[in-house]
Subunit: 261 residues, 2 copies
Amino acid sequence: MNLWTLGPAGTFSHEAAVNLFPTAKIHFAQNFESLFDAAEKSGNTGLIPIENSLHGAVDEVLDLLLRSEVKIWKTYDVAVRHAFGAKNPKKVKRIASHHQALSQCRDFLRKHYPHVELFPVSSTSYAIELALEDETVGAIAMKKTMLERKLPVINEDIQRDHNTTRFGLLARKNPFPKEKKEHMSVALIPTEDRAGLLHDLLTPFKIYDVNLSRIESRPTGEKFGSYCFFLDFAGTKESARIQKLFEEIGKVATIKILGEW
Amino acid sequence: MNLWTLGPAGTFSHEAAVNLFPTAKIHFAQNFESLFDAAEKSGNTGLIPIENSLHGAVDEVLDLLLRSEVKIWKTYDVAVRHAFGAKNPKKVKRIASHHQALSQCRDFLRKHYPHVELFPVSSTSYAIELALEDETVGAIAMKKTMLERKLPVINEDIQRDHNTTRFGLLARKNPFPKEKKEHMSVALIPTEDRAGLLHDLLTPFKIYDVNLSRIESRPTGEKFGSYCFFLDFAGTKESARIQKLFEEIGKVATIKILGEW
């Protein structure tokens, strides 16, 4: 299997790809957009973080799912564990990491480094590079990658509790056609803009007793107050109940199926 | 007036503060959290981006509003305009900016610099510094700041259309007690977790004909599928209709008032 994941080597996404697909040939994409581009090609797959239990959706991924031809065919929940590393922790003036990792370790940082400047960079892997070059910089990243690159690990498991990232496996066509699907992800794009619309969009879910496990609202980018909605729920598009649900919702919104997993 | 805004000097937040409050004494906070800390002190105010018309809520601000004593007492919609600057555009290999600014200029970047590496940094102001130091780095930032710091401006108005950021004025007590309020921002934290809950939370809005202008869902950080909701609507807590609305909602959720503006 050809699997694209977010590079560079040594990030949390890379580690997840290696652990989940030990036999896959792994390729690195520079950003989410080029990852989607690669996954759209026939026969390719992509692994992408879609949601974090603390921080919610990865906004850019939602936007890309909306306009891409790929779908989510499977999801994987991976526990997030961060370490703090530095060549000389007493001299640290700035702590570098990906902005989500900084946010996931906010309690640790507030307690141990309240006066240090936080320095969001493009990846946890790049943060390690900076900390290796400059002893006034500390890094938050994976312990494993710090050990590989010989950055001293000062603290382990500094993330907040219950910190899990959900990854989605992307492809144009279902790579696991024999596996039973249980969930769907859809985007609902309202065809009108009026008071009570979200309430009305949710009514069919109540009527047909379809359990929502997730809801995200995203601005459509036109004006304040104009939204589309991303929903996950239990069900498959083959079920009669879901077909009725779609029929009802279709009266007030365009439905785009983003995943079946 | 003592007004805290997100530093360093020369960012979009700083510019908004200067334009909106020309006579205020402006102080810089290093991050959102220290801005909230400063605004919590008696007599202080803070100006903070709460929502962008393209990208939605600033997640960290929602989390901080939820646990802080300060409220939003006024909002300001500011058009976002970005420029691209570089010492030598033909040599540019990386383009640095704040990750939201990179995202707001995605169409320009895809068209003009499809093969360049995007490099998210802590502020647009810092991106200019990097571009001044290294001619292989370009920066996306405000034109005004580029001109001040003598970074050549290559392209102007490279942001996507309809790009507006809503700022909120934060303080513990209402700094404008004589001004008429028209909107409220609240967080609803459900006291139970069950199917159809969001639908039921929205029913009173429909019954009492209260028009929602915004809805954001955020994970509570406990587990996947457990959410709290951030809503903006027209009304004031003095109105009988809103009091009835709160009474109904109070049966299934804790209500925290985040702003009256």
